[in-house]
Amino acid sequence: MRDLIIRVISRFMIPFIQVYGAYIVLYGHLSPGGGFAGGTVIASSIILYILAYGLLSEEKRIPEHFTRVVESAGALFYVFVGLLGVLLGTRFLGNSVAGFPLGIPGRLSSGGTIFLLTFAIGMKVASTMITLFSHLIDEEREEG
């Protein structure tokens, strides 16, 4: 677990993985990918960090109540964006019909609410993956 090569390489890799994950989330409405794929990539960087540095004890990891808050907030944010469509006078999850500007196709600022929705999914998936991993570690530690 405390292998020098793994630690050095992952210290080098983790920022790139995170930037790539953020790119997939933020460009979800323009290119293949989106909230789920990007969120998983971001979470995998955190998991790699935990494994490479052997941060198996609970106090050294990202605290569980934090990931849980991010997870629930992501889901609630999605619902909120959906309800915005209703509040603006059209249907649930209404996008351009509710008056959100669509922007120039191909730009990062295009696509109306889809950007916000992929962001919410990214939040939820990344924090869920980390929570799941923490639970698996805790179970292993309890057993042996």
């Binding site: 849980r68 609630l76 959906g82 209703v86 249907r91 649930f92």
Partner: protein, 493 residues
């Protein structure tokens, strides 16, 4: 605003569930209140929706204003509206009951999460019944399977974990075959929206008859595994027997039924009666359901654990519902849909009162319940009423559905199934009535002790269900008249 009721019934429980997780995972008393208010609001919303359906016909809602076949569509017809009201009312009663008892049954650490899971399950059930899009039905089905398995395992004891894993594996099998069926139907018709599939299916059948038949087979297998029709029932007794009381009640009363609603939509709206009567589906369904009715009851007689016995009784009752569907007649189907409601009321009442008795006396064995009726009259009266309704004693609601099922069997020219219903009623009597008789008239072996207080929420929940049992027995015309136009449409009377 009234047009947004359809998405709100799914969004409201989801938002409440995540708010509970966000704000008060530790303060479970707030979670209790939040879920009680949420389910109460849902009862009101679904009633409004049912009124709208009654006045203006099916309610259609396009998410984000994208029209089908590309957009997501909610279509709530009479059958769905009926089911939605039933789901929200029963879960309101179960939450009311759980608020008084649940904190004694599971660890305090997970209580807040339990309520959140319950609401997510509720959202998925409401979503399945209202969605008109096969892929969304699939997504909601997956949510319901996973959250239902988690609700079984929440106790954390060995039996519940084993049952939950078994449930998860078998329901994944069902999901797999459903996904294959959905992929197949998308391949041959090019649509996922049920209305469009129904239009494109005759042509697709002419081109690819084998694919369409295989799809029908996969749908039947997937949905019968998930709703535990007889040979595929093996996960049900363990899962429903070892879960906490409120989970067992909602799993037995609602979760297994929702798959039958999907089945009804597929058979009668998509494949249509004409197509289904050409394939040997009727024979298969009737055979499996007759086996379910008889063997489910016989297996229930052998049980000594009261919750396991109730779970096996659910296997038999699912058989009744599938038999009503399989008869392919107007009265049979009416009986099946009524039995969905009646069984939900009866089984929720039986599971809740049995759970309450287990908690109060500390015993799960049916032989040790002698004399309990004199110490704890209310839960035992509820249990007796549920038992009598199960057997089918006339003024209670169980009689009505059995009556329509028998009429349907005669209408289909298959009087042998009337005999099946009769025999099974006797078998029901054989395992329910001894408990009732010994509880009220038997001698308790233990010295008399001061009874523990019954939580007030639990008493109210049981009284509500008792009233519902009698009400739907006396005024069966209310659901019958509500459902009549939908069924007439399906049978083109």
């Amino acid at each position: 605003m009234s047009e947004h009721v359809a998405p709100l019934i799914v969004v409201l429980p989801l938002a409440t569930a995540y708010s509970i997780l966000l704000f008060c995972p530790k303060y479970w008393r707030y979670a209790q209140r939040a879920s009680l208010i949420c389910t109460g609001l849902l009862v009101v919303l679904t009633c409004i929706l049912a009124m709208q359906v009654n006045v203006r016909g099916s309610v259609i809602y396009h998410f984000g204003n994208w029209s089908p076949p590309w957009g997501i569509e909610f279509l709530i017809d009479r059958i769905s509206a009926f089911f939605l009201v039933m789901v929200s009312a029963i879960s309101f009663v179960v939450i009311l009951f759980a608020n008084g008892l649940l904190y004694k049954e599971i660890k305090e650490r997970v209580l807040g999460q339990y309520y959140a899971l319950f609401l997510i399950l509720l959202a998925s059930l409401l979503g399945i019944a209202s969605s008109n899009d096969l892929f969304n039905v699939f997504v909601f089905l997956e949510i319901s399977s996973v959250s239902a398995a988690a609700l079984v395992a929440v106790n954390g004891n060995k039996l519940a974990l084993e049952a939950s894993v078994k449930y998860l594996v078998l329901s994944t099998l069902g999901s797999g075959s459903l996904l294959l069926a959905i992929a197949n139907i998308y391949m041959v018709t090019g649509y996922l929206n049920l209305t469009f599939i129904a239009e494109a299916l005759p042509q697709a059948y002419a081109l690819y008859p084998l694919n369409v038949l295989a799809t029908l087979g996969l749908f039947v297998v997937g949905l019968t595994v998930k709703s535990a029709l007889y040979p595929m029932h093996i996960w049900l007794p363990d899962a429903h027997g070892s879960a906490p009381t409120s989970s067992s009640a909602v799993l037995s009363a609602l979760v297994v039924k929702v798959y039958i609603i999907v089945f009804l939509k597929l058979i009668f709206r998509v494949f249509t009666l004409e197509f289904v009567s050409q394939v040997p589906l009727q024979f298969v369904l009737l055979l499996m359901s007759a086996l379910a009715i008889l063997l489910g009851s016989l297996l229930a007689i052998r049980q000594t654990d009261i919750k396991k016995m109730l779970a096996y009784s659910t296997v038999a009752q699912i058989g009744y519902i599938f038999m009503g569907v399989g008869l392919l007649t107007y009265n049979g189907l009416l009986g099946a849909v009524l039995h969905i409601l009646n069984h939900a009321i009866m089984k929720a009442m039986l599971f809740l009162s049995a759970g309450l008795l287990i908690k109060l006396t500390g015993k799960r064995d049916i032989r040790s319940l002698a004399g309990v009726g004199r110490i704890y009259p209310l839960p035992m009266i509820a249990f007796s009423l549920g038992s009598l309704a199960m057997v089918g004693i006339p003024p209670l609601n169980g009689f009505i559905s059995k009556w329509y099922l028998s009429l349907g069997a005669l209408e289909a020219g298959l009087p042998i199934y009337v005999l099946v219903i009769l025999v099974s009623s006797f078998l029901n009597g054989l395992y329910y009535l001894p408990i009732v008789i010994s509880a009220f008239f038997g001698q308790s072996t233990e010295p008399t002790y001061k009874p523990l207080p019954i939580p007030i929420g639990a008493s109210i929940a049981l009284i509500c269900l008792c009233i519902a049992t009698i009400f739907f027995g006396l005024f069966s015309g209310i659901p019958t008249q509500y459902l009549d136009p939908a069924l007439e449409n399906w049978f083109q009377l």
